[in-house]
Symmetry: C2
Subunit: 310 residues, 2 copies
């Protein structure tokens, strides 16, 4: 892999990107204005994290990324091992031990004048930046204040949420509404009385009988969500994937969200009202603890080789 | 306005862009990889055309652009006259007499680590490229073959189609399906048996009684669509804005689509079956003729000043 001779190592401290077969400091990375990945949001992506020098569930993210590309008929022109090499080199250049690592395929651009997506040369991009938290430390400690939005999440009949994509206007609109009323973040509904997902996360509620419920339809099947499901199995906690009504979330004993950008985050208020005693609940704390424990488990982790010559 | 001293005029022949307060040849224009306009498709835009050296309905496009930005809480940091100056300078640099001119505001990026859209510095971009046609000359002459897609257009409860945006995965998916079966383009439905709009255009059907019908809900209120409505008023053609069922479109006497990328385009087949006698219809031809006639009308046109020093 060619080393970037033209940039001092320090330039990469804020992050490193892979753009048009070159590695660049994140601040210098760009995409063509005319790439349909921008002008039509015609792109698929995935995000994997590095925690204490190791990728977490990299293979699962690579597999989902390929499936998202295939769903949108975007061509990922390199095998998983080659994608992983690029991601690792971005992390290595940045030197980051805790990183947020994104991989992207865009439509690119068909010849001038053509409107046929099949004639475009698809493009691959990647970058690594410092680990991103959905919530700051104070919010994570006290638990998030979640607003249930009146905005409906884009339904799967229009764009399948399982294929990770950048259509976020609904999520952003809901988030702005939540921030306006003093909440920390937002979950959107399906227009039929159920909640589905928020900006970058899945949601879980623990009911009066102790069963954890997470929405089954109209959501991204998050890798962190999958980790929660597997943790629940391991710990013997009952968990169901089924519709979660807004009413059930409001009256839950406890709740939490899951995201690659922060892991498991307790929710302690919904629509301004405290859940249970208003503290992060015991089920949430068990899942959260297991989530971080699993980051030391070689089953899920793959160490980054930070050797400069690698 | 600063002249771009570093580029020969010829560089701009394929188009000119305005990026971070500089004018660049379109092939060199880019946006930061980390702009949420890309990473969340958090952007609003509009497209105005130049035909034979004059903008068509520029004021209407500027007004709608400002409304789209406001809808998404994106800040357009300059008055309409200043936007118009940038657009005109892009056209002037390109020298194009027939141009497709796009204006964009993106969210930009909040400080690293923040997920609050309100903390981002919004960015303005613009470009002018050669006039874009939705359909090639042969298609325009014989009339378009239109497929009614099984994909549902993103509903306004998620993202208001009246605020022009880049959420096109549904349109692109529908278009790919249509191209696969040999159709020229596609119109999406609302999930309730009605058609709404296609990739970059509105749709019109002429029923057995001669009334032109165009969908009222869940569509971009196109400026070309508005022009059709005004032409119909002027010519005394009956026109209704109301739900248009897929069945009514299939059994229409004639049909056409409207777009800034090509004006009025006849439709002669729907789902493989000819409409009427399979030729562009008389109502379509009258509207099409008036559309181009209006391009010579000073009420709607604003001449571009191509003087290099302007």
């Amino acid at each position: 892999m060619p080393a970037p001779h033209s940039h001092a190592a320090a330039d990469f401290a804020r992050g490193a990107a892979f753009v048009r077969d070159a590695y660049l400091p994140i601040d210098q990375a760009s995409i063509p204005l005319t790439d349909w990945g921008f002008l039509r949001s015609d792109a698929a992506y995935d995000v994997v994290t590095v925690w204490d020098g190791a990728f977490f569930r990299l293979d699962d993210h690579l597999q989902r990324f390929r499936a998202s590309c295939a769903h949108f008929r975007l061509r990922l022109d390199r095998p998983d091992a080659a994608v992983a090499q690029v991601l690792e080199h971005c992390v290595r250049l940045s030197g980051l031990r805790r990183a947020y690592v994104e991989m992207i395929v865009t439509r690119g651009q068909p010849p001038w004048g053509s409107r046929d997506p099949r004639q475009a040369v698809n493009q691959f991009y990647a970058f690594a930046v410092p680990y991103v938290w959905i919530a700051d430390e104070e919010q994570r400690t006290r638990g998030l204040h979640l607003q249930i939005s009146g905005v409906t999440r884009i339904p799967s009949s229009s764009v399948d949420a399982r294929a990770k994509n950048y259509h976020w206007h609904d999520l952003t609109s809901g988030l702005l509404g939540a921030l306006d009323v003093g909440a920390d973040t937002v979950v959107l509904g399906d227009g039929a009385g159920n909640v589905v997902e928020g900006p970058g996360f899945n949601v879980f509620a623990v009911g009066a009988d102790g069963t954890i419920v997470t929405p089954a339809q109209g959501v991204l099947e998050g890798i962190t969500r999958r980790t929660v499901i597997e943790i629940a199995q391991t710990l013997g906690l009952p968990l169901q994937q089924r519709a979660l009504s807004a009413a059930a979330l409001r009256s839950a004993r406890e709740a939490f969200i899951s995201s690659s950008a922060g892991g498991i985050l307790p929710v302690t208020r919904v629509d301004g009202q405290p859940l249970g005693d208003g503290q992060p609940g015991p089920v949430t704390r068990r899942v959260l603890q297991a989530y971080w424990d699993w980051h030391a488990d070689p089953r899920w982790c793959r160490r980054v080789d930070y050797t400069p010559s690698a």
